[in-house]
Amino acid sequence: MSATATTATESPYGAFGALRWAVARDLKLALRSRAELGVQLLFYVIVVTLFPLASSPEKTLLATMGPGVLWVAALLASLLSLPRLFASDFADGTLEQIALSPYPMPALVFGKILAHWLTTGLPIVVLAPLLGLQYGLDVPALTVVTLSLLIGTPILSLLGAIGASLTLGVRGGGSLLALLILPLYVPVLIFGAGAADAVRAGLSASANLSLLGAGLLLAFVGAPFATAAGIRIALD
């Protein structure tokens, strides 16, 4: 049986080990149910294809709506998957163990968020150009939409995690989470969808994209700590 060195001056429990533990475990869980990944994607596809169904399918209108719909659908996919980010760990006691682990908690939390993005955000980014074709978007517009999603969806996951931690164990979690987090999502949505609009209007999208990038940096630095604090509050 193994014993851990507890008297080392430098803690052997580094952020990298924590990250690896969380990402590996959550990816394994996500892959365990083979259907999961496919289902996430199908949900995105269905939502994106729903819109032309409900509105009238005129061509110019479609191209106008395109980036907005791709973004709103990404946002909804994120919202829909967020309540699950910590809920099952909370219910079965894993979150207690995470909070009490010798590893730094923000790193563990960041690992969970990263895994969440890899399983829900990244596939959306990959799929977006294909779906965009369906809306008659041209190549420059497609490129910018995809790029904006690539920078934007991690922000959604990071911000969403804060909301998910704050609504743990609160009834009506799903919609309360949505309410808390949507105001934070809206700027992301505006810059994200705006980037493509700028390109279609013949302008440069770089301003929008660098604003998104700044947002990502901010969320990356702040969100893990805020989320860790939220979880500790929920456990009290």
Binding site: S33, R34, A35, E36, L42, I46, T49, P52, L53, P57
Partner: protein, 247 residues
């Protein structure tokens, strides 16, 4: 009484193995004949030119996509009400074939739409409901793979299949209920056909090909499912074929 015997997987397994090759052979024959009629004999359409020949694949697959679902629904009802394992396995075996047929109907329809309507896709009622059918097939398959207890999966999928079967009349009658791009039924048992009889013949032969193909594939797939699910059972261990394969 003798039919009842075959409701046990152990009894059905050899029967399926015996029948499947015959259906596969018939499917091959009909495909060759149908394609020969469709692409060799049938005349060029004066309106659509050669593009119309997609009909020989499109219509049979579209019919099968709906029919397979109905058959799936039938087995699901049996599985739920009598709790018979074989019925559930049949339903499970049908889903992928149904999905493929639906996909082919959508694909060929889209290819056909380009020359005739100038677009691959429109949110027309029939196309939409056919797309929904594809998602229903996906849903049933996804639900099955999300539940790892096969008995539970059987019954859950049966409920979903039965509920989803309301979509079939919607697809079929969509051309009548809504003013759609897609054309209405041109083959009917009651009215005289509006099509050249050689085209009709080609379509019918191709339909038989699709039928036989579906039956053969489903029988083989059900054999695989039986083997997988009953791998613990004594009769599986005694299968001579399996033993020789191991040796």
């Amino acid at each position: 009484m003798s039919l009842y015997r075959y409701s046990s997987p152990a009894a059905f397994y050899p029967l399926a193995g015996m029948m499947a090759p015959w259906f596969a052979g018939a499917a091959l024959l009909c495909t060759v004949a149908g394609l020969w009629i469709g692409f060799g004999i049938a005349p060029t359409d004066f309106q659509q030119g050669e593009a119309y020949r997609i009909i020989f694949i499109h219509v049979p697959s579209a019919w099968m996509s709906m029919f397979v679902y109905l058959v799936m629904g039938f087995w699901s009802v049996l599985a739920l009400s009598f709790n018979t394992r074989l019925s559930a396995m049949m339903a499970q075996a049908l889903a992928p074939t149904g999905a493929i047929m639906t996909f082919v109907a959508l694909w060929t329809g889209a290819l056909w739409g380009r020359p005739t309507w100038g677009t691959y896709w429109a949110w027309d009622a029939r196309m939409t409901s056919e797309l929904i059918l594809l998602f229903l097939y996906f849903g049933v398959m996804a639900l099955r793979s999300a539940i790892d207890d096969p008995r539970r999966a059987d019954r859950a999928c049966a409920v979903l299949t039965i509920v989803g079967s309301v979509n079939i009349p919607i697809i079929y009658f969509s051309v009548q209920w809504w003013n759609t791009l897609h054309q209405g039924a041109s083959v009917s048992l009651t009215a005289a056909p509006k099509m050249a009889s050689i085209m009709l013949l080609g379509m019918l032969v191709m339909s038989f090909a699709a039928w036989f193909y579906a039956i053969a594939v489903v029988l083989w797939r059900v054999q695989a499912i039986i083997l997988e699910r009953e791998r613990g059972a004594a009769w599986v261990a005694e299968l001579p074929k399996l033993r020789s394969a191991v040796a």
